[in-house]
């Protein structure tokens, strides 16, 4: 059986009147609710950190360290323990959410959008446009990002937004490659040609017939990307381009303390768990949304 025979005939997206709204359908899915709650929890923690944090995140307490200078495990004073300078980990995690949310959502989101735009355009139009875009993508993949980061660090005063920009600048290429390959396949399907002969514009074809099939991939990249970008921010900040000490971020707390993970595991596992939960939460919501919008699911719920 040849592949050419296989044709997926997607149905156009129509929401029949007697179907409940998206939000209602989302609410029916327990896991999605869980995901939303976790996200709200993280965002809330970040926004209200000043009131929720028991201590100043940058204050180095004398009794936050043992006599030899080792950090304290979680105890009744410091619920998450202290870090290598005797600072309260819980407070740092709360404040750190601010940085990590910007990276995980904004930087990652931007990378996702840029990558999708490039990938879809290149995969759909092919020809010269496609070739130029994909070679540009190759170039950006080979781009010495670390060098760029070091240069920027020396020229500009480091800030969260610069590092977010560098991450978006660098991370979109992977999404673009994968989306390109998928779009190339989708765009060649028979029904697309049929639609074209019927006079359908490019925009309509892309939105109605191609994008929906890309959503699963986008969700994977968007959610896993949260983890990788948060960790990448730590590496870039290490080079001096991002947040400077003592500003906390989940990524840089892990990065600073990873060699200590045997003697002070809480310093690695707690922020790691935070990153994990955030990424998972988005995945749960994303999966639910994908199911809701899935064209092949219409009328089968």
């Amino acid at each position: 059986m040849t592949m050419a025979d296989a044709s997926i005939s997607p149905e156009p997206m129509v929401v029949p009147e007697n179907e409940p709204s998206v939000l209602r359908r989302l609410a029916q899915r327990k896991l999605a609710i869980l995901g939303l709650l976790i996200i709200l929890f993280c965002v809330g923690g970040a926004v209200f950190a000043r009131w929720l944090a028991p201590f100043d995140p940058n204050e180095q307490f004398f009794d936050g360290l043992t006599l030899e200078g080792a950090p304290l495990p979680p105890n009744e004073n410091f619920w998450f323990g202290t870090d290598l300078l005797g600072r309260d980990l819980l407070s740092r995690i709360l404040y750190g959410a601010q940085t990590s949310l910007v990276i995980g959502l904004v930087a990652n989101g931007a990378a996702l959008i840029i990558g999708t735009l490039v990938g879809v355009t290149a995969g759909y139009f092919r020809g010269i446009v496609g070739a130029v875009l994909m070679r540009f993508t190759d170039l950006m993949m080979a781009f010495p990002a670390l060098l760029l980061a070091i240069c920027l660090a020396a020229i500009f005063s480091p800030s969260l937004w610069i590092v977010a920009m560098v991450i978006a600048f660098v991370n979109w290429v992977q999404t673009a490659r994968v989306i390109f390959t998928q779009t190339s396949s989708l765009a060649e399907r028979d029904y697309i040609a049929a639609e074209k002969t019927l006079g359908a514009g490019h925009g309509r074809i892309v939105f109605k017939h191609i994008l929906p099939h890309l959503i699963p991939t986008l969700i994977v990249w968007g959610t896993l990307g949260i983890s990788t970008t948060v960790l990448l921010e730590a590496t870039l900040s290490f080079l001096g381009i991002g947040v400077q000490p003592p500003i906390p971020s989940w990524g840089n707390i892990i990065f600073e303390n990873q060699t200590y993970f045997q003697s002070a595991p809480w310093l690695v596992f707690i922020p790691g768990a935070a990153i994990l939960l955030l990424a998972l939460a988005f995945n749960l919501v994303g999966d639910a949304l994908r199911d809701i919008f899935d064209p092949t699911q219409q009328g089968r719920d």
């Binding site: 070679r135 080979a142 060098l147 992977q174 396949s185 699963p216 983890s227 960790l231």
Partner: protein
């Protein structure tokens, strides 16, 4: 087909040129004087100037870049500023190790990630699916250093099944490859699952099932080949990523790959090494993507090489 490959190779050469230009420019603009690194902390201003002149670092940008390119086409990557060794020799001494780890790591990623993704897709919505999803997220969110050190500690130090880092035999290869395999498998399993779910719901699958084809035949024969397309692109990306070096895993396992060379060179602004490694990894990236683009039509003949 041949024409396509030739066209791509020419385009790749242009890309390499572009990369070399950008890298050289960034190094030129970088406010960290390589001559100061060479001359050391006790050098007088006269010594510094003399070294600068000898290395041609007082020339304007385009002349320096031109000289570099001229040497490059003759196969001369220059000599390291700090080691005085030929860059080509340094890279060649580490390339086999990097390539070996690259192949082994990708194999591990696929061996772990693909089956898990397929199982998850087939058990969609059930506990197994959610459990595997959790596992994927954990492996992707885990910091490389921690995972590498943990595996080394458990399997090499405590259990003694493998040597504690190093290079040379198959036993040395296992831990670093498996570490990278675990770290990267999450992506493959998630994409595989996602892709499979999508394909499994397609009409042609229902048609095949309706025709009475057995389950495994349907999965392996029809679903899998369709679902595997994005995986091919990801392998291409991986080749590129590994060629740029995976410093963390290399240094934990004492694996003499290109990553460590690059990282040290960047810290010390050893320009010839940085240029050499960037170009070599750019080659890897471009090649990886080219291979992925050549394989895709074999999987899905609808894709035409254009």
């Amino acid at each position: 087909m041949a024409a396509y490959i030739i066209r791509r190779l020419i385009q790749s050469a242009l890309i390499l040129l572009g990369v070399s230009f950008i890298t050289f420019m960034l190094l030129y603009v970088l406010p960290a004087d390589p001559v100061r690194q060479i001359a050391g902390r006790s050098a007088t201003a006269a010594t510094v100037e003399s070294i600068r002149q000898q290395l041609g670092l007082d020339q304007p940008f385009l002349i320096q870049y031109g000289n570099y390119l001229l040497n490059l086409v003759q196969g001369d990557f220059g000599r390291s500023y700090l080691q005085k060794t030929e860059v080509a020799q340094l890279i060649v001494s580490r390339l086999p190790a990097t390539l070996l780890l690259l192949v082994a790591a990708i194999a591990c990623e696929l061996l772990i990630g693909l089956p898990l993704g397929i199982i998850a897709a087939l058990n969609r919505g059930k506990v197994l699916d959610n459990g595997l999803m959790l596992t994927s997220f954990v492996t992707v969110s885990a910091p490389q250093f921690v995972v590498a050190l943990l595996l080394l500690f458990v399997f090499a130090v405590k259990l003694g099944w493998f040597p504690i880092g190093g290079y040379g035999t198959f036993a040395h290869l296992v831990l670093p490859a498996v570490t990278l395999g675990i770290l990267g498998s999450g992506w493959y399993s998630r994409v595989m699952r996602s892709s499979m779910v999508d394909v499994l719901r397609a009409d042609f699958i229902r048609t095949a099932r309706a025709k009475g084809l057995g389950r495994s035949k349907v999965i392996l024969g029809h679903a899998l080949p369709n679902a595997i397309l994005p995986i091919i692109a990801m392998i291409g990306i991986d080749i590129g990523l590994f060629m740029s070096g995976i410093v963390v895993v290399e240094s934990v396992f004492g694996w003499p790959g290109i990553g460590q060379l690059a990282w040290q060179a960047i810290q010390r602004v050893d320009i010839p090494i940085i240029m050499g490694v960037t170009l070599v990894s750019a080659c890897g990236i471009v090649l990886g993507n080219l291979i992925a683009d050549l394989i895709s039509p074999l999987i899905d003949p609808r894709i035409k090489l254009r």
